[in-house]
């Protein structure tokens, strides 16, 4: 049997709104370096032992360019011998970073890998600075370039999800996130970030007072007469997250207690115009590879790109909201594209410990029509 990959620690930055938030003036490479340092500290490992740093980013250009991962190695003060690779699977980028790390460990090619992700949606726009889609493809397969908002509208239509159900889902996300914040459950994962204007230590996108009535007053954001609004879409956010992945041999040798081990991973494709449904097949495949059923899972972290999208996924998978996104999700916390995968995977591992659970599923949809999923198991 191949070696096991385990998650040793997880940390993330606070999430603040793009453009207006307190992290808007922080460079994404600095933000990522800060959470990497904190995650390594939390893991209690010697940074010199890191075999590789994998960084997910959805728009790796501008300040997120220049092989961002290698820049983060330098900025985090890791030894020059630590390499770095940037991976891009859009919203699934940093979950892919964890998969890459786990795969390298399983191959015996590495023992200790930092998997991280970052997105400054302030400093590098969605679509990048120079969007240049293929004209022939645009003519032949316009769906390949579907706008994300329209994919949510399509799911709302195909799954007959009315606007009020989407708004209820958004309210639930904010309520749960607010409760988690109030109970101090984010404190363990958030790394305070120093900025020229002061230290930022809390998420600022959560709106505890949001009501369905208030959300009902918003105008549709993507389609006249549509049902998807700014209130039922994840807000544009700046943020970073990091997970330290090691071989179980490494953990044992250094006397470290992992949060969880990686039981299975999966990535699947789907129709781009309903990309939000991606988690359904990805989750099924990951669970299948692990020999599990959803009923076995104690904790589910489903990235909330859009309310319509999570409701469609929940319908197909028959998700139980009592076990899913219990501390809220991206509708409240925001979705810094390249960072969200590491966040929800780390969060799932952390929730296993907090709830004394055994098995967790983290899954998310990906623009262009993909889904990605990770099954975790707490071994301690």
């Amino acid at each position: 049997m191949s070696r096991q990959a385990v998650l040793l620690a997880y940390r993330r930055s606070p999430h603040t709104a793009a453009h207006k938030g307190a992290l808007a003036r922080v460079r994404p490479d600095d933000l990522a370096a800060r959470v990497v340092t904190a995650a390594l500290d939390a893991a209690g490992v010697d940074p010199a032992a890191v075999d590789d740093l994998v960084c997910g980013c959805a728009f790796p250009e501008g300040e997120q360019g220049l092989n961002l991962a290698r820049m983060v190695v330098f900025l985090a003060g890791l030894p020059d011998r630590v390499p770095g690779v940037t991976v891009n699977r859009f919203c699934g980028s940093s979950m892919q970073a964890i998969h890459d790390a786990a795969g390298r460990i399983a191959l015996g090619a590495a023992d200790l890998v930092v998997a991280c992700g970052v997105e400054s949606m302030t400093r590098v726009p969605v679509m990048g600075f120079n969007p240049m889609p293929h004209p022939g493809l645009a003519a032949r397969r316009p769906d390949a370039l579907s706008s994300m908002g329209m994919t949510a509208e399509n799911l709302a239509r195909d799954y007959a999800i009315p606007r009020d159900r989407q708004e209820d889902a958004a309210v639930r996300s904010h309520t749960r996130a607010a409760a988690a914040a109030a109970a101090g459950r984010f404190a363990a994962e958030i790394v305070p970030i120093d900025t020229p204007q002061g230290t930022v230590a809390a998420d600022t996108t959560i709106r505890p007072d949001t009501t369905a009535e208030a959300l009902a007053a918003l105008t549709p954001s993507f389609q006249a007469g549509g049902t998807v609004t700014a209130g039922t879409s994840s807000p544009l956010t700046d943020g970073a997250a990091a997970v330290v992945v090691a071989s179980d041999d490494f953990a044992r040798a250094h006397g470290l207690t992992p949060l969880a081990r990686v039981r299975a991973t999966a990535v699947t494709g789907c129709r781009p115009e309903i990309m939000g449904i991606g988690p359904v097949e990805a989750s099924r495949r990951a669970l299948g590879l692990a020999g599990l059923a959803l009923a076995d899972i104690d904790v589910v972290e489903l990235n909330e790109a859009f309310a319509a999208q999570i409701l469609a996924v929940a319908q197909d998978l028959d998700l139980d909201w009592a076990r899913t996104n219990t501390d809220g999700g991206a509708l409240a916390l925001g979705h810094p594209l390249g960072s969200s995968g590491a966040r929800i995977t780390g969060k799932a591992a952390q929730r296993l410990a907090e709830t004394d659970g055994t098995l967790a599923l983290a899954t998310m949809c990906i623009g262009g029509g993909q889904g990605i999923a990770t099954v975790l198991e707490r071994t301690a």
């Binding site: 969007p131 240049m132 004209p135 993507f222 006249a224």
Partner: protein, 787 residues
């Protein structure tokens, strides 16, 4: 900030009192690039040690300013120059201010108390002014320490001060030397105002006459049972007065303001002033104010918009019953039997007799009080033109009517004939011009006084009088404006562009190149140019005269490019609207000297076409040359695309720079009267050692991939219902031009390639039914069709 503050401007200013007028004034001082402190009193109960609560009044006023419509600030940078504070904690900071203007309530005791606190704080050479509209300078000055008195003046601005051009200045007799003289220069050049020296009398000049005119018009309308809309119709256009007339004007100013002004005037004017006899409260106005009908700021006034049933019906109040009924649009011929001032004065119809009664009484009053309020009649005329937007002041109006004829009319009506009017009747009018061209008007004493053009101004009237144009056709003229500089003036209706304008521009290039040093393109109309003549385009399209249309586009492109490459400098001098082709001509000038109130935009999409006289190309090249954004062509292309596709119109010359319509190095003139002189001076300066600019460097553009990327954005707007089906078509053509058409990154394209794309896109669009429908609709209604 529209420009660096001019030489001699105060380094720092303060406005005391953050009411509407004070706050707006602070904004406008900031528009001139001067940092301003805006102070108001500390609200009752605001605790010591809580600066935010203590400065809340000024802070709130500043917040309201940011939302003001029309905008108070010319640019967001100007907003950052205004700082809010309070009159207790921040009083000591006035020691840094060169100019302090008081705009607190019209109460002599309150003003005196404030001045008392300022006396020990102001620096020795600071100028203190009051924005009072009614209180005499002498009354306020006597409460000041002797040392401050010579540096105290009245600066009476009109609301809103960014847009109203008049400032009445009342100072002691020191003339233009000294601190008040320097301030007068700043009011003129820095704030762009027409500064009229007024004598120290109640209401100064404009409101003294204006209040009499308004009160008379209301009284007579009530007494003669003339409808509100009919009154405004006869009192406006025939006399060159804005179409708001009297009742529309009172709605604009506020019904509650008028009784306050009347009371203040009654209290300060001599008992035998004719105003005392007519100043009587109108019960209807009292009732309207009590019911919240205070004018446009309230529920309505003499007019209101009735929105019941989803309609917007303009209604007017019945002066007898107080009930509202649809106002309609009375035709002058129908109600008065005449269309002009002379016809109205001679007419028998009730509306004509009403107009005659109001205007003759007002003109007689102006003649009666002129000696007491101004040095000469020209100052009175200037004040009414700049303060009430009359096309002619009262004395120019009298000259048009005939001073003798007005005197006879008054005599026949049993009214007194003022001595100054009698003197004018004897002299054959108030204004005269000598054989050598020198102009005179009657002084307060009834003697001829020179009418002097301010230094640094250039009036086309003087140019026209001096000789024939170098070239002229039906739509434009070329003038010699002296010192080796020529000027092209557009003259068609609304200053639209057509083949004649291009012919004149080509002649201008030939003639200027043949013995002149520089060319200015400018005029004195309200609007520089509203764009191409749509009528011609539509006519040609309906005849399917595609060759002619293509030739017209090529003609414009070639002419504008010839301007850009002419062997002498070309300076554009816009004011007011500079739209479509009007902006494209400016974008081909070497330099633009813009009046601060220039509203520029490439608005062609509104009629279903794209800028094809090089405007799209020029904006694209400018955006690509902008190096302050991350690399790659798409941010620049997207900026140009958004600006044109959304038909963005800048709300000031400063904003036009931000949009790329004007360049950073283009300059701004705050005072409209100085625009052409400033443009000429700039042209002369550029002429020394002038070399025409080289053609723009070829640019690397993404080609179709870029157009697809822009198309994705347009699709998103279309799905939201924010772009119509034809918007998508027009935007698609624009995207093709701005991304270089069928080109590839690796092969840079030149200006001609882009101009050819413009022309081809225009040709395709003008062949669509939807574009023709847009043009027809614009011609018929003046509004864009959303199809």
């Amino acid at each position: 900030m529209t420009a660096a503050a001019p030489a001699g401007a105060p380094a720092r200013a303060a406005v005391l009192g953050a009411g509407t007028m004070g706050a707006q004034l602070a904004a406008h001082i900031a528009n001139a690039g001067v940092p301003v402190l805006l102070l108001d009193r500390v609200p009752d109960g605001a605790p010591a040690g809580d600066p935010a609560a203590r400065s809340a009044l000024a802070t709130r006023a500043l917040a309201a300013l940011e939302r003001a419509d029309p905008p108070a600030f010319m640019h967001r940078r100007a907003r950052r120059l205004v700082e809010a504070g309070n009159l207790e904690d921040d009083l000591a900071r006035l020691a840094d201010c060169d100019w302090v203007v008081e705009a607190v309530v019209e109460d002599p005791a309150v003003k005196a108390a404030l001045f008392d606190r300022l006396a020990g704080v102001l620096k020795p050479d600071a100028v203190l002014t009051s924005n009072t509209s009614t209180l005499p300078r002498a009354l306020l000055a006597k409460t000041l320490p002797a040392a401050l008195q010579p540096r105290f003046a009245i600066t009476h601005f009109f609301n809103p001060p960014r847009y109203m051009r008049l400032v009445e200045l009342v100072a002691d007799g020191e003339g233009d030397a000294g601190p008040v003289g320097a301030l007068a220069d700043f009011l003129d050049r820095g704030l762009g105002k027409t500064v009229v020296r007024a004598k120290d009398s109640p209401g100064f000049i404009a409101n003294r006459i204006g209040a009499f005119w308004i009160q008379t018009a209301i009284n007579e309308a009530v007494d003669r049972s003339i409808g509100v809309a009919a009154a405004d119709a006869v009192l406006s256009r025939p006399f060159g007065i804005p179409k708001t007339g009297v009742f529309g004007l009172v709605d604009l100013v506020g019904l509650d303001i008028m009784p306050a002004v009347a009371r203040a005037l009654s209290a300060t004017l001599p008992a035998d002033d004719p105003f005392q006899a007519i100043a009587r409260p109108q019960p209807l106005i009292t009732r309207l104010i009590a019911d919240g009908y205070t004018g446009r700021k309230g529920k309505g006034g003499f007019y209101r918009l009735n929105r019941t049933g989803g309609q917007r019906v303009k209604e007017a109040v019945d002066l007898a019953t107080g009930t509202y009924a649809p106002a309609g649009k009375p035709r002058l011929e129908d109600i008065a039997g005449a269309r002009d001032a002379a016809g109205l004065l001679a007419g028998d119809a009730p509306a004509a007799r009403y107009a005659a009664a109001v205007m003759t009484a007002t003109l007689a009053y102006a003649a009666a009080v002129a000696p007491a309020i101004a040095d000469d009649v020209a100052a009175v005329d200037e004040a009414m033109v700049a303060g009430y937007n009359w096309r002619h002041g009262p004395f120019r109006l009298i000259d048009r009517i005939g001073a003798g004829r007005l005197a006879e009319y008054l005599t026949a009506a049993g009214a007194a004939v003022p001595p100054l009017l009698t003197r004018a009747a004897e002299a054959g009018g108030f204004y005269h011009r000598a054989a050598d061209g020198a102009a005179t008007c009657l002084s307060a004493a009834g003697r001829p006084a020179p009418v002097v053009r301010r230094a640094g101004t250039l009036a086309l009237d003087d140019v026209r009088r001096a000789g024939a144009p170098l070239f002229r056709n039906g739509s434009a003229a070329l003038w010699d404006i002296g010192d080796g500089v020529t000027l092209v003036e557009f003259t068609a209706k609304m200053n639209t562009l057509d083949a004649d304008v291009f012919a004149c521009l080509r002649e201008a290039i030939r003639i200027t190149g043949d013995g002149y040093r520089a060319l200015v393109i400018g005029n004195e109309a309200e609007n520089f140019c509203v764009g191409a003549s749509i009528g011609f385009g539509l006519f040609a399209a309906n005849l399917a005269a595609w060759d002619r249309l293509d030739a017209a586009i090529r003609d414009g492109q070639d002419t504008f490019r010839a301007l850009a490459t002419a062997p002498f400098p070309v300076v554009g001098a816009p004011s007011g609207l500079a739209l479509g082709g009007g902006l494209e001509v400016l974008m081909h000038c070497d330099h633009v000297q813009a009046h601060s109130e220039t509203y520029a935009g490439l608005v062609e999409v509104g009629v279903g076409i794209i800028p094809a006289w090089g405007g799209a190309t020029r904006l694209l090249l400018r955006q690509l040359a902008q190096t302050r954004r991350p690399g790659g062509p798409m941010p620049a292309i997207a900026e140009a695309f958004t600006t044109i596709a959304l038909a963005k119109v800048a709300k000031s010359a400063a904003e036009a720079r931000d949009l790329g319509y004007f360049r950073a190095e283009d300059t701004i003139t705050m005072n409209r009267d100085r625009l052409l002189a400033d443009a000429k001076a700039r042209a002369r300066a550029l002429a020394d050692g002038y070399r025409p600019p080289p053609p723009p460097d070829p640019v690397a553009l993404p080609g179709r991939t870029g157009a697809v990327a822009l198309g994705l954005q347009v699709d998103a707007f279309a799905r939201l219902g924010q772009a119509t089906p034809h918007d998508v078509v027009v935007a698609g053509e624009l995207a093709t031009v701005l991304t270089g058409g069928d080109c590839d990154w690796t092969e840079p394209v030149d200006e001609q390639h882009l101009l050819d794309l413009e022309r081809a896109a225009f040709g395709r669009l003008v062949r669509t039914e939807a574009t023709l429908a847009r043009m027809e609709h614009m011609l018929a209604t003046g509004k864009p069709l959303r199809n």
